[in-house]
Assembly symmetry: C2
Homo-oligomer: 427 residues x 2
């Protein structure tokens, strides 16, 4: 190595689906790689709602990033939070003052939930993006039932047994369906002073139908499946207030002690770090080759960018899109290092859309075919187990699901994180 | 029911091994029961160190209390924290102001770790009693390696790679052995800038030998097993200081960023609630029938009491002792309700002692036979899986162990709870 120049160094910020795909597809290329993430684990976000609703353990859907790449000796993994990028000096700046030099930078920093200018709603309506979000939501759902069991005032009891989910995209629908099953089936026999079947699960959507990303017939089917589960769907009115008392929408006040936010996302601060053009939710408007305008050696991928697919519609913020972008960026980097001509622009291929509604129904749209009902549900389960990393997690998740679907026993009904009952989380 | 008097009401505070045994053995008795706990889950504490050392998921060793008794319609489960007992009015007083009436009260409220008058050490040397303790310790261990990977100062790096465990009872020995395996085997290939095999694991014990509860020959064997794992055992000097810099013992300063406390326990406040006689760590000195002196209708069991066995030695603070006490109390209550003569005093029967040292060695002492090495280890594993509740958890734990022992992959290497890298947990 001594008479060679230092190899080209790629820094990938964010170990989600997109970032890891870049690293994976750069295997064998003449580069060294740093993966930088503020968390030590890669998270399988499509199943995060199952942690939030007591079906899966946190460790069943998360893996230590460094262990995923331990065989790749040219890859280092660092835990750290990015504060900015100094593009002139080609350095990533960390919050703790450290700097990491790059030749090529890939920003795959994802998104957080957003409250449309109402950040003051966050304490009352937590969103679902991280493992901690999931255990927070799990705690709130379970504590609501525990408090209702001890509450003697019928009005307060009703508010404790009202669960509001704001936003009817896939996450909102999945949360609503699973909470309804939890209340109306799984918890039914465990309480003495409340009938958990009387719990209300209310799904509020500002638009005219649920699952707006799906074809109308599938979203109508999903709506019927939610009806069967006892979920109340309220369409056509945005939420105008969230508080410790409940929500207000369409002029109606709904008393609810548990409110979950699944209504919108805000991109990470990647655009700010670079002064790059961004859309209204902060996503970098990238060039057709996924570089940040004005920075040919900085790529951005995944939920942190806005780009249109070949049909003119925005590329959706889903794992397959991030992975395709990651694979494309790896090819661009390799082509450049080999002095090959520039690749054509990134072309998104939509493989299909999947969503579940509780444990027996799902919808799938592959463009050429639409599937719904239990066949779609099996498809959904198999696809998700297939994409989990490692046999250990596939077996673990399959085992958890087997128990839920055959016995109705959810294995992760734990209230954790709170110091204790008395002082904690009274919002 | 209308022309019968209200049934005798038993309140059991604490859903650990002892409390649940009382409830279990009262099945069929003419009583109603309230189980009160400040947490919603029963915890299998003997395996808690495996959560702290990334081997098991939290939900594999914890079960929602109310689900464990859902078939017993005469049993209600309440989540709440006790503030005191009004023995005159026969009420349990909760921190939130509520009161729960009892005819018979069973206090099975356990113990916390104690710092011998040095509570200021707690932030630097967390103990291990709850699921949150376990995830806190897990986070600290994993963050120490992460920080060492990024540390350039060799002195600071060495302090980050020094893990001190204070107290060489079973928990201390289990923690030390597992952390040594984690550092010296499992994590070995995952880092680029540190050699995790150079990590020091130091077990400090004030007494003259490790595992003082075991026979000398078994504790000598355990010491050898720790030596083989690379654990440094320091005997004969108590720790005189814990800080963010490390520990001081026997005049020696040891720089260490991770310190774990396994040196002592303090009983819950049950004795205070009743003004009852207590030993120096706050354990209620109960009557031979496990009632609290002066309160014939209040029992105390488990780690919250001090009582001697038939050999004159104190009954140890282990699950089988708490279960025997719980079973005995249920018999006393049933005998009283049937108007039978009082039972003889509680007689503890020691079934045996078990401890593991890493993944290949263990010691077992059944009095009539002592076992050590891999036979003892298999015995330990089988006993613990047997005592787990439910096939689901037995399969889950068996699966996790299979992966660890065959592939060296620990499935729960997650850093959670911290807000993010930058601001968090810098102690």
């Amino acid at each position: 190595m001594t008479d060679h120049p230092a190899p080209h160094h790629v820094v990938v910020v964010g170990a989600g689906f997109g970032g890891l795909q870049v690293v994976h597809n750069l295997a064998g290329a003449p580069v060294t790689i740093t993966i930088l993430d503020r968390r030590n684990h890669h998270l399988f976000q499509p199943l995060l709602y199952q942690v939030a609703t007591t079906s899966l353990a946190t460790s069943e859907i998360a893996w230590p990033v460094r262990h995923l790449v331990y065989k790749r000796k040219e890859v280092e993994t660092l835990l750290g939070a990015v504060a900015g990028v100094d593009a002139g000096r080609r350095k990533v700046l960390l919050e703790d003052g450290a700097e990491i030099a790059y030749d090529t930078l890939v920003l795959a920093t994802g998104a957080r939930h957003a409250y449309f200018g109402h950040d003051e709603w966050e304490p009352f309506a937590p969103g679902l993006k991280t493992l901690e979000d999931a255990t927070t939501i799990r705690r709130r759902i379970l504590l609501a039932f525990e408090r209702a069991e001890r509450e003697t005032d019928p009005t307060k009891k009703a508010a404790l047994l009202t669960f509001v989910i704001i936003g009817a995209g896939p996450t909102g629908v999945e949360l609503a369906g699973t909470i309804a099953e939890l209340a109306h089936e799984n918890l039914r026999e465990d309480f003495r002073h409340i009938d958990t079947r009387t719990a209300r699960v209310v799904l509020i959507e500002a638009g005219p139908r649920i699952l707006p990303g799906f074809k109308e017939e599938l979203s109508a089917y999903a709506q019927k499946a939610l009806d069967r589960l006892g979920v109340e769907v309220k369409l056509g009115n945005p939420v105008s207030n969230c508080s410790a008392e409940g929500v207000v929408f369409g002029g109606e006040k709904l008393a609810a002690k548990t409110i979950l936010w699944a209504a919108g996302v805000q991109a990470s601060r990647a655009a700010e770090w670079l002064g790059a053009p961004a859309d209204r939710v902060g996503r970098v408007i990238v060039e057709p080759d996924l570089t940040v305008p004005g920075h040919p050696n900085i790529f951005a991928i995944g939920d942190t960018i806005a780009i249109n697919g070949p049909d003119g519609n925005p590329v959706p913020g889903i794992a397959p899109a991030a992975k395709q972008e990651g694979a494309y960026v790896a090819e661009v980097i390799k082509a450049r290092l080999q002095g090959k001509p520039a690749l054509g622009p990134f072309q998104y291929k939509h493989a299909g859309s999947l969503a579940t509604i509780g444990k027996r129904a799902a919808i799938a749209d592959f463009g050429w075919i639409k599937v719904r009902g239990s066949l779609a549900w099996w498809l959904w389960g198999i696809v998700h187990i297939y994409f989990l990393i490692g046999l250990r997690n596939r077996l673990g998740v399959a085992l958890s699901w087997l128990w839920i679907y055959s016995l109705g026993q959810r294995s992760a009904r734990l209230i954790t994180q709170g110091k204790q009952w008395a002082g904690e989380d009274k919002a």
